[in-house]
C-alpha cells in the first residue's frame, strides 16, 4: 500500500517535558504500508527525482488538517467472543477507526475469558478476517479471571497477547498479584490491574458522596480505588517490577502514583475521557448512561486527573470502551450494567477538554493516545519514523461534532455524551496506509 499525504500539519508525539513545538507542514510518504522517507519514496518509484508524485500514486491533500500517528487504545472491550449482541470485532473496530484509533488492545473479560492461547488465536484470526484496525488481545492474569490459578501467560504471549489483566475485577489478592508480576516478568509482558477493593465497593452503584446520599443509592468510596493502587504500588516497588494501572479516576490515586514515580517505582497508568470530563452529577435523575466502574467522581478528582495528565503522572489516555445493549441500560438504575462506549468520542473530548482550555498541546495527545501505549505494550507504532506501520489519522481541528449516540458505528448506544457539542474531529483514518475511515 503506497500513499502520499501532502500539506498536512504533522504532529509528532511531544516527549514529556520537551520544548513546545508547532506542527510543521510536510509530506508523509507511505511505501508498502510503512512510513518512508522522501528517498524511500523515490526508490520505490512513488515520486520523481524532483519529488513530484508520479502518475498513479495515491495522493491526499491534507491542507488545513493535522496528521497524527494513529491513536492506540490500551483499554477496549470488544465483547467477542460471547457477547456479540453488544459488540463484535467488526463493529468495535469500525467504531475505533471512526474515532481515530488504528490499534486497540482488547480486554479478556469475554465469554469464554481470553485466558489461554486458543482464545487469543481466535481473536487474532477473527480480527484478521473482519477487523478495520489492528487488534491486540490482552490475556487474563488468572484462569477464568477467578483470581485462583495463574493463567498460561507464556503461551498466550506466544499466541499474540500483548499484556495480561483481570480487568473487570482486581487481581484477587496481593499474593496472587505478586505471583503474576514475578511470573510475567520473565516473559516481559506487562501486567495491568483494575484497582478496586471489592469489599469496600460491594453493592455500590456510583461514587459515594452527596449525590449518592441524595439519591438513596449505595456509594463506592474513592478509598476503594486508592487502597488497591497503594497495594499495587508497594508490591511493584518491593519486587522492583513494573505494573500498569487501568482507568485511574481519583485524586488520591493520582497523588500516590506521582509519589511512586518520584520514588523510582515502575508504575504506569491510564485514565479515560470520562474521568476528565464528567462528574457524579451526571448520575442525578438516575441516569444509567453515567454508570461506569470506577464511578464518575467529584470535580476535585477531575481537576487532579487533568493535573496528572499535564505533569506526566498519568501516562496515557485509554477509552475503557464498554458497549452494553439497550436492555442492559434502559432499566432501573441499580440493575443497569457499568460502562460506556468511548472509542468514537475520545479524540473530540481530549481536544475539547484538554487542548482547547490550554492544559495540553496536540503533541501531548499524540504521546498520551499513541506513542505512550505503543511503547508500554511494545507495539512499534505511535510515530512517523520510517519503517513503522503507516497508521495515521487526519484531524480537522475546526470541525464541530454534536454527539448522537444512536448514530455511532459501535453496535451499542450507551454513550453519556449524547447531545454534547464537541470541537475537532477525525476525518481520515489509515491503517498500514490503507484508508479505513473517511468522515
Amino acid at each position: 500500500m503506497n500513499l502520499i499525504i501532502t500539506n498536512a500539519k504533522i504532529v509528532h508525539p511531544r516527549p514529556l517535558g520537551a520544548a513546545h513545538t508547532k506542527p510543521e507542514l510536510g509530506t508523509i510518504y507511505v511505501v508498502d504500508g510503512a512510513f518512508a522517507t522522501c528517498e524511500g519514496a523515490l526508490a520505490a518509484g512513488l515520486v520523481t527525482a524532483d519529488g513530484t508524485p508520479r502518475e498513479g500514486t495515491a495522493v491526499v491533500d491534507a491542507t488545513g488538517l493535522y496528521a497524527l500517528p494513529g491513536l492506540i487504545d490500551a483499554h477496549t472491550h470488544l465483547r467477542d467472543p460471547g457477547q456479540e449482541y453488544k459488540e463484535t470485532i467488526a463493529t468495535g473496530t469500525r467504531a475505533a477507526a471512526r474515532g481515530g484509533f488504528t490499534s486497540v488492545l482488547c480486554m479478556p473479560n469475554t465469554k469464554p475469558v481470553i485466558d489461554n492461547a486458543a482464545v487469543v488465536r481466535y481473536v487474532i484470526d477473527k480480527a484478521r478476517r473482519e477487523a478495520a484496525v489492528n487488534v491486540f488481545p490482552i490475556g487474563a492474569v488468572t484462569k477464568g479471571q477467578k483470581g485462583v490459578e495463574i493463567a498460561e501467560i507464556g503461551l498466550m504471549q506466544e499466541a499474540g497477547a500483548v499484556a495480561v489483566s483481570d480487568d473487570g475485577v482486581p487481581v484477587s489478592t496481593a499474593a496472587m498479584l505478586q505471583r503474576a508480576l514475578l511470573y510475567a516478568a520473565d516473559f516481559g509482558i506487562p501486567v495491568i490491574d483494575h484497582c478496586e477493593d471489592l469489599s469496600l465497593a460491594a453493592g455500590g452503584v456510583m461514587n459515594e458522596g452527596l449525590n449518592s446520599t441524595v439519591m438513596g443509592v449505595q456509594g463506592i468510596p474513592s478509598a476503594a480505588e486508592d487502597i488497591i493502587v497503594a497495594r499495587d504500588i508497594e508490591l511493584a516497588g518491593y519486587l522492583g517490577l513494573s505494573i500498569h494501572l487501568a482507568h485511574i479516576s481519583t485524586a488520591g490515586a493520582v497523588a500516590m502514583i506521582r509519589q511512586a514515580k518520584a520514588r523510582g517505582i515502575q508504575v504506569t497508568c491510564e485514565t479515560c475521557p470520562h474521568y476528565f470530563t464528567l462528574t457524579d452529577d451526571h448520575c442525578l435523575g438516575f441516569n444509567t448512561l453515567a454508570r461506569v466502574n470506577p464511578p464518575l467522581r467529584r470535580p476535585e478528582d477531575v481537576a487532579a486527573i487533568i493535573e496528572g495528565l499535564v505533569d506526566g503522572t498519568i501516562d496515557m489516555i485509554a477509552t475503557d470502551h464498554a458497549p452494553h445493549h439497550d436492555d442492559e441500560k434502559d432499566i432501573e438504575f441499580a440493575h443497569a450494567l457499568n460502562g460506556m462506549t468511548g472509542l468514537e468520542t475520545a479524540w473530540q473530548l481530549a481536544w475539547t477538554r484538554l487542548v482547547l482550555p490550554g492544559y495540553l498541546e496536540i503533541g501531548d495527545l499524540a504521546r498520551l493516545m499513541s506513542r505512550a501505549p505503543s511503547e508500554r505494550f511494545g507495539l512499534g507504532r505511535g510515530g512517523f519514523e520510517p519503517g513503522r506501520p503507516a497508521d495515521l489519522i487526519l484531524v480537522d481541528p475546526e470541525r464541530e461534532v454534536t454527539v448522537d449516540r444512536f448514530k455511532m458505528l459501535s453496535r451499542s448506544h450507551n454513550s453519556p455524551y449524547h447531545g454534547m457539542t464537541l470541537q475537532s474531529d477525525v476525518v481520515r483514518t489509515y491503517v498500514g496506509g490503507r484508508e479505513v475511515y473517511r468522515g
Partner: protein
C-alpha cells in the same frame, strides 16, 4: 380551589421534586379528606370511574392498605399486584409489568420497589400517574407528607421546628423524604444513629449529624424513630440488639432532653423494645397511631390532586 393551587405534575415521585406550595396544597387538602374519614359516610365520588393499582415488590401492610383505603374512600376501583403472585416472579421486567397494567386503562400506578429511582424510571414510560410508595433507600414521599400533616396538626406550625430522627439513616427512605420536606419548610433536622448506618456525607445536605441520641433530641419538637431492620445486625452494621437498645433506643431519659411538648413519631412497624419501649409507643405524647390515620387522608389528598391535574390536562386546560 383555584387552578394554580394543587399539584403541577402527573406523578408523585419524591419530595425532592415538589415545590413548597404543592406540599401545602396536599396538607390542606388532606385536612378536608380527614373530615371525610371522620364523617359517617366515607364513600365519596371524587375518583369514581378511575382505577388505582398498587404494585408492591416489597412487603408492606400499612402503606398498601392505606393507599387501598384511600382509593376506596374516593370511589375508585382498585387492584393489587405483588411480585410473588405476578409474572415478575416468572422473570417479567418491571417495565413490562408496568406497561401491561398501564394498558388496562389504569389511572394510578402506586409502586413500591427495592431499587432507588424505579418510579422515576417508569413514570415517563406509562400514561398512568405513578405514585412512589417507597423506592429503595431514596424516597417515601407520602410518609413524609403524613408526618408533616401530623406535626402541623399537633404543633400548629411547621416553620422552625426542630426534628430529631433516630436510627438507620443510610437505608431509610423515610429519613430522606422527611429531610427534604422539613428543609423545604424551614425546619432543623438532626440525625443520630450508629456510624455504620449514617451516610458519610449527610452533613452536606444541611442536616446536623449528632453523636448521641440525647444530643439529637436536645430541644427537639419532634423525636422520630426509624424502623431498624434486624437483619442489619447479621450484616455486621451493629454488634447486637442489646447494644443498639443501650445507645440508640428512644427512652424517657432521651425524651427528657426534648421540648416538653415534643411529639414521638415512628413510621412503623415498630420493633417493640428496640427503637423504643412499648411504653413510649403508647406514651401520651406519641402520635404513632394518628400517623396511620393521617396517612390515609394524605394519600386521599395526593390521589385527589393528581386526578385534578389529569382531568385538567385531559380537558386541554394544560398542555401535555
Amino acid at each position: 380551589m383555584s387552578r394554580d393551587e394543587g399539584l403541577r405534575r402527573k406523578d408523585l415521585l419524591g419530595i425532592q421534586q415538589l415545590d413548597v406550595d404543592e406540599i401545602y396544597a396536599i396538607l390542606n387538602t388532606a385536612r378536608n379528606m380527614k373530615q371525610v374519614m371522620e364523617s359517617g359516610n366515607k364513600r365519596t365520588a371524587y375518583l369514581a370511574g378511575k382505577s388505582v393499582v398498587t404494585l408492591f415488590f416489597e412487603n408492606s401492610t400499612r402503606t398498601r392498605a392505606s393507599f387501598d383505603f384511600a382509593a376506596k374512600y374516593l370511589g375508585a376501583s382498585s387492584g393489587a399486584l405483588s411480585n410473588s403472585g405476578s409474572a415478575t416472579a416468572k422473570g417479567e421486567s418491571l417495565l413490562d409489568t408496568a406497561i401491561t397494567i398501564d394498558h388496562m386503562a389504569t389511572d394510578f400506578l402506586i409502586l413500591r420497589h427495592q431499587v432507588s429511582g424505579s418510579p422515576h424510571y417508569l413514570a415517563p414510560r406509562v400514561q398512568a400517574s405513578v405514585i412512589n410508595a417507597g423506592d429503595g433507600c431514596n424516597e417515601h414521599p407520602t410518609q413524609a407528607l403524613l408526618d408533616l400533616y401530623t406535626m402541623r396538626d399537633k404543633l400548629g406550625r411547621l416553620d422552625g421546628l426542630r426534628v430529631a430522627i433516630i436510627g438507620d439513616i443510610s437505608h431509610s427512605r423515610v429519613a430522606r423524604s422527611n429531610l427534604w420536606a422539613l428543609q423545604k419548610l424551614g425546619c432543623d433536622v438532626r440525625f443520630a444513629g450508629p456510624g455504620t448506618m449514617m451516610p458519610r456525607f449527610i452533613e452536606q445536605t444541611g442536616a446536623t449529624r449528632c453523636r448521641s441520641v440525647e444530643e439529637a433530641a436536645d430541644g427537639a419538637d419532634v423525636v422520630m424513630g426509624l424502623r431498624i431492620q434486624l437483619e442489619r445486625q447479621t450484616a455486621g452494621l451493629f454488634p447486637s440488639v442489646p447494644e443498639y437498645v443501650r445507645y440508640y433506643s428512644i427512652t424517657e431519659e432521651v425524651l427528657a432532653h426534648a421540648a416538653p411538648h415534643a411529639l414521638i413519631m415512628h413510621p412503623g412497624p415498630t420493633n417493640h423494645g428496640v427503637e423504643m419501649e412499648t411504653s413510649i409507643v403508647e406514651h401520651e405524647r406519641s402520635v404513632i397511631h394518628e400517623q396511620v390515620t393521617n396517612g390515609v387522608a394524605v394519600r386521599m389528598a395526593v390521589l385527589y390532586l393528581l386526578n385534578l391535574y389529569r382531568n385538567r390536562r385531559q380537558r386541554g386546560v394544560l398542555s401535555a
